[in-house]
Subunit: 188 residues, 2 copies
Amino acid sequence: MKSEERRELVLDAATQVFGESGYQGATTDAVARAAGVSQPYVVRMFGTKEALFLAVVQRALDKLLAAFRVELAAGDDPAECLGRAYVGLLADRGLLLSLMHAFALGTHPEIGALARRGMLEVYRMIREEAGLDADQAGGFLAHGMLINTVIAMRLGEADDPLASELLATVLSPESGRLAGLDETRLSS
Amino acid sequence: MKSEERRELVLDAATQVFGESGYQGATTDAVARAAGVSQPYVVRMFGTKEALFLAVVQRALDKLLAAFRVELAAGDDPAECLGRAYVGLLADRGLLLSLMHAFALGTHPEIGALARRGMLEVYRMIREEAGLDADQAGGFLAHGMLINTVIAMRLGEADDPLASELLATVLSPESGRLAGLDETRLSS
DNA sequence: GCATTTTGTAATCATCCGATTACAACAAAC
DNA sequence: GTTTGTTGTAATCGGATGATTACAAAATGC
């Protein structure tokens, strides 16, 4: 197997592991086992665990922006396009959760800086490229953060009619800001 | 000093430390130093680090619900009351950030369960006691999650006009869902 | 074919950190 | 005044974990 494939394999595994356990909670050994390689290999490939996490976050941001651009290029209503793009990203649960963990570490010198840079790039894109106004953009981001939160906290596992109502509201297409998002996606 | 005071002191310190570093990133030694006591004392007082974190989260949830109830009892427009209550909670940065970290650990057996229980209790309160409909409640929670995120990621430290715009939009009273929240609070 | 680079692992190291133990100071009970 | 319980710490232990080293094996170049 070529080095480049291994690298992608490890980054995929790391995205899942970091998404589930966070930066500090994840271990390089867990990443290695998820990728089917040895722990020293993971470390040597990226130098440090921190560099690996930064690579995971940067890759997640790239995929996020790319997904938005793809939908925007083909679509009509910008808000609807962004919603569809977000749906696609939800398929890879680790991606958005790794980003969420990065956002939560704002005081970390490098992770915090990358998180701020990434968030601003996303905001710039939905403002300037998608053409949303400030209120629409804020609403879109807010809705996205709530989606991330209910996914991260596994609200679907709660056996409570109010949980179902909240999930339906947050994930339903009629909720407005994220058209195209249907509840069937929740099960994945 | 009485035991009860010490306990509150340690919980205050732990809330700050967990809020900044997360559950796994925080150390019992950092909590102890922040509280001005020894590390073994912190551990023995709560048994385990996990139990300490659970106590911090439970206490944060209690304060959150109490703040909502206080404002709701005195106010008129429920949405405006909830917004004012959230402003007060922002003064203690660690409180909302500790909750955010708990929400991000949905797969942890006890932490995840407590996070879901807490989120549902908050949702129940704003739906039944405050009387918001499902869409309003979802919007309120979404806005709150975005506020938590921009605070956690220290977006105020980014030197960028778009960052200022996003912060102003998210934190401005005119943004609708969280009336009463003014930007001057951001500096704290 | 032989040297060299690339790709990978086993074994081990060194540090951090949660937890435990043993003990000191001091007040309260009687 | 001795005992007993409370409040606290110093010292230390043991496991987890990121990182390093040494080495094996396969590809690659000449």
